[in-house]
Symmetry: D3
Subunit: 300 residues, 6 copies
């Protein structure tokens, strides 16, 4: 069970009200790489986990992410503090209010009109958070890798927000949040590699005929070699060979019963196209009345 | 630019028509860990990549994933081949058709009624594919880790489908597809580690005060230690210490102008709750007429 | 900030593994009336709230809802405990595993194949949770009413789940969770009515000409009167009167500049339909080859 | 069945074309608190309702909301009237057109490019309307409360739009629409309380042990008391007591068969983490090549 | 403005309660080809239309579609009438109720538990309706074609539902609804072709160099010719020719300032992959402990 | 299977970096009428198609659309090339970077912060692509019409983008892409009409009583006649006639068992509204404390 302490994990000191910046900060509140996604990701994994070490770690970090969600949400709330009163109390003329919410070049008008300046579970563009952002599948050799990647992504988004923010208090809190992603990634890495073996993920081995083959499917100037496709590590298949079926003739078959075949033939016959026809079409009907000279072609 | 060869990368030999199994296979066609997500993931990364080696690798693998999308989609089409004719030609009584689409315990009725048995870009439960499944953010130290994790997840889903399928031809093709995820993961791993340094992701370093700290936020019986939080690797903060603000007093502040403060006070006063009141409420109005004895409590 | 205690707020005692029931329980984990929605609803409101009483209450209840999310998620995990091993370890034949996940008449195959039996943030039909489920708008006279309604809805969904469950331990825990919704509704009711006035919501009064008018827009046998439209409370407008513009002639106008008018006329002329024409259409082209006798009409 | 009268329920008199304002108005056309949501909410409830009074009222109000959808959509169409011609006829230079759609600080470029200036079923930020906005669950004691809350929210959004609009004709129509929400809320309130009892919602009573308990889950400076948690109305549980399991030891159990236990043990053993290990990790590999001095920490 | 007549446009006579069939009928209530989508499609087009003939027609048909939405929704409500009482009144044992909602092989448990048997704005698989289903873009030469296609799709879905339903009253009403789609398609066809020219859509002509070219991008056994690519209508480009850039060398360029080039070079250098390296990777670390013999390959 | 040639189908020559324009171009990358939707639409149809001519055509065009996706995505990447370095390398002050991403009046801040300037599968407003954009239903008489309409829509969106772009290289490439939509529409038209009959779509004929009836459901000034409802083509039903049930009395019925009737009556009685009551309501409680004079009505 959870308990809440009214003090934030990290103190938020915002210099001044700034709804445009508030809107940008939503990226880590309700965006795909944000703290709600992180908390939900680890919490749901923890509930189903049977390994005691991983279960404990996942719940520790999930709980911390909830505290981070509170920090970033509080930053949003503080940055909106000044303007939410102006709109709800109609403290300025309509024209001034309109300018103040639509003149700052990002989607902060949505935040003000729809959410009243409160932190909303959307990204900075107003896209509603959805659980498709969470990629947990209930296997530790996959989920730990997903967690490592998620921490890496969150770290980068924080880095970008820091690069865009000149409020020292906001930068300071973002720096803390960014650093914790680095710490969490390290814990997940240790947890992954303390489970042996963890590659290939899962239990079933790969088919050895295809495990170390690299197909050069994109060909032309720009083809490159490196450790990801070199001859030490991979059988490199290129040229026409890369574009052949690997097994059989590359055609699909299915066993059908006589009844199924009969009714399928009936369907095919009913909907057959006639390759010999040259039918009049709707497009041709639609060209009537066209005067081609009127308009010039787009690339001229 | 792309070209298409009419032969499949791997030959599909389906034993017999089976719409329930077809529906299950949609998981890797239009599901979050499926081949459309994989192809879109690597293709969009390739377009923006400036490193020639990664760009080539991403396009090679994106192209192969399109061929995998074709293989899994063809499996779905073959498994549905028998039944699509029956419904479109109304080849059975209504009652028989209804039983045949609703009696097999998964969501195949949607596939038949809405999509006519064609492969749909949904998961096996009918959830529409959406681009939120793709977590690319345009930084290679994060995106390569995301790709590694995505391949691990896809491998597991294929493993589960193999465990659920007794059609030998379908198992054979799924085995190929599963193995290719293993191969791709290895390429992405090589690409990640051939970029040095790649940790922490991005350019900005973490704040050294918080980089190697582990907060034991979930406490009680079940607390565990391991390399993810041991004293060699981390400063382990537990007990009451873990539940204190790390910086300052944990309160949030924002600098407001006098005008902003004034209008905010006005808002607060207008919407203040009165802690001394004991108002009659809608719930109390709603209890009128209630006869408590009538029903027994749920846990008795 | 949050802390986690490893013990659940309410003890979960599940009788036996049952993946079909697990799937049903997802309704209150990741469904629209479920505990994640509740926790997010109150937590985000709390962050922006400036009234000390409401802020405290919202955070108290948000925190409790997180503990409820843990209880219901744990029920899901326990109900899936038996089957997740069978699939990941391939402990049965493929045919047996396929039957076990697709024969129980709800969407539990998605839970097993995609989520490995872990609690997923979807409803019982696999629909991904999304933040559109949360209707907070940042005004207490509206948000408290939304909270009251949300608690009422959650109570009903729990009641239905109790009616569908014969596992005594699950029923017992659901009874606790259901009852807490009743308690929370009462707190929100008290908070709403301790803020005076709270109707009409917001600050701006309604236009007195339209505030107590009832338009009888649906007419015919079945028209009914009651306190929601009786003459004591409302001016009841019916018959032809109800179907007249309330103000003016009911036509829309906009002031356009000469330039705007000019280019609009050009657009209208270019895309004008000719009412006097009787054009040949694609549908008519498409009727060629039709033999009407072949098929009988649907209602015969 | 429905009939349409070409005259609007309220006359729309827009002063001048203004695509930025048009975009803002979409909030009540295709936004979550908008008129489509209102109409769908009451209409779907009406279809399933068996109480003649509520059924009639729901259909009356649903029909009126459709007329409101027409009014707000007409406002959008009028505000876009001037600019839609300019883009479709290419009546200005590309640079001028680009400036005119992207210079007004909200998302009106989407409206112009994607929807051609027509009213789109999105909110003012372009988020597609979805049926998750509708929270009807088919129980009148819950649905009427949801309707009351929905009317309160819609009233507030109209109030904010009025505060942001200085076109007198638009303000006038918005004032009408806002007021009707007040009227509808009153009808729903009367309908709710004319059904006795209506609290607790549904049929099953709460468990009396937990119905009037308040758990003080968020503790610290800022704890507050009021009628929502005072001793007259609630048993107030605070301090360490609030953080204990309410029933039993707070641990979860499930009855498993021997087979289930066997295969689960196998899974746990296969994926066990080794707490004694100190594995080399990917993160450590990734730190190679790092030169720490190069960059300064974010908070310095 | 709209008015509602309490009588349905077509009389609904349902033989007996059947929640499984009710669930299937949702496809045309809240599915992508259903009546809500149809009504919204034509209504939103009507609001922005300036041609008087099309505007009138669009509103006529939109209004009729609302009446169809009522008919299909009423069918759903009638089919659920028997079971909604059983669940809300807990009229059977839990085990019987559970069986009755989960044993009929489609997603009707969602309808009962979440929506209480009321018609929900989802498709038959529980996928929430969203406005992305509506493809109107505000140009009549495109929108009329979209409407024609939408009517064709809706006709087919009704045909499939008729083929799956043996309740004579339901079949009869579905036959009416299906036929009206045929009628509407004919009206939209006439409207399209009474606007001349209507092809190519819009105002700008195509570039004559590319308007009648057919690229044979999918090559191999199965290549086919027909009126869609024959030499009378198209310049058919095949073989290696089809896979060449049509213009220039197929490389992309962008003009960058010196500053932009400088910082881009810095980014590329910082994130360069080293093609000569052969780094140890996480996958290799993860293979430690693997005993290959334990498991057999999937295709054996 | 697919192969990739590193050269683009059409050469992209972008004049200068321009993130605002890049963002606009996303409309045809990840928007509903964009190239991903087109490619997925034809590719999924091709997989299930049994007519050899259509199958080949669908795969030819699907493959070309993938190449178009590459062209438009490359345009986005080129337009973002300059700014992605600035943000990732923090090459400017925070204030300058903030201004550069939020000052250009569209949603390009999302593209930069969340996607790092890479082409994202969203529309120009940040709305995530979803498979609901694809309306294929697996019947050629419907799907070909849907394809025709989709090409028409895509053509218009390209036309609008051309009208908004003054970069000659971008205009040139957009002109190519737009023209190809015209070519594809012509192929789909030929394919539709080479299948005879293709109207009505599907196999089941319409009911002749309703196939050529036009209901004038929207009445009043503005009623118009044209070929879509004239007496040559349709039976025109207007006035009061249009608003009558077409069949029977317009009431809905369902056959219920005695048990079903009994429990339904119980439900109705339990939740009955009392039309004679005049209950005190929450709204009335909420009006306490209101001082009406304080605020002026909105329309004054």
């Amino acid at each position: 069970m959870f308990a809440h302490n009214k003090r934030l994990q990290y103190t938020v000191r915002v210099g001044s009200s700034n709804p445009g910046l508030a809107n940008l900060m939503l990226e880590q509140f309700g965006g795909p790489q944000g703290e709600l996604a992180a908390a939900c990701r680890y919490f749901t994994q923890a509930l189903a986990e049977d390994d005691p070490g991983r279960k404990d770690m996942l719940m520790d970090i999930a709980t911390e992410e909830l505290s981070h969600l509170e920090v970033i949400g509080t930053i949003v709330a503080m940055l909106n503090k000044g303007c939410k009163g102006r709109l709800s109390e109609a403290a300025e003329s309509q024209a001034d209010l309109y300018r103040s919410i639509s003149g700052n070049g990002n989607s902060s008008h949505v935040t003000q009109v729809l959410y009243g300046g409160g932190p909303a579970l959307t990204n900075s563009g107003g896209q509603l958070w959805n659980a498709g952002y969470i990629d947990s599948i209930g296997d530790p050799s996959a989920d730990l890798r997903s967690n490592i990647a998620a921490e890496a992504r969150a770290k980068i988004i924080y880095e970008r927000l820091i690069n865009l923010t000149d409020d020292p208090g906001v930068r300071d809190a973002l720096g803390f949040l960014m650093t914790r992603e680095v710490a969490h990634q390290q814990s997940f890495e240790k947890a992954l590699y303390s489970m042996t073996p963890n590659f290939p993920p899962g239990k079933l081995p790969g088919d050895p005929r295809f495990t170390n083959v690299y197909f050069d499917m994109s060909q032309g100037e720009g083809d490159a070699r490196g450790p990801w496709n070199n001859d030490e590590n991979f059988q490199y298949v290129t040229g026409a060979d890369a574009q052949q079926p690997i097994d059989g003739d590359g055609n699909a078959t299915v066993g059908l019963t006589d009844d199924e075949q009969g009714v399928l033939k009936q369907l095919v016959a009913r909907t057959a196209s006639d390759p010999e026809s040259d039918p009049l079409t709707g497009a041709e009907l639609g060209m009537e009345g066209m005067v081609e000279e009127e308009v010039e072609a787009p690339s001229e």
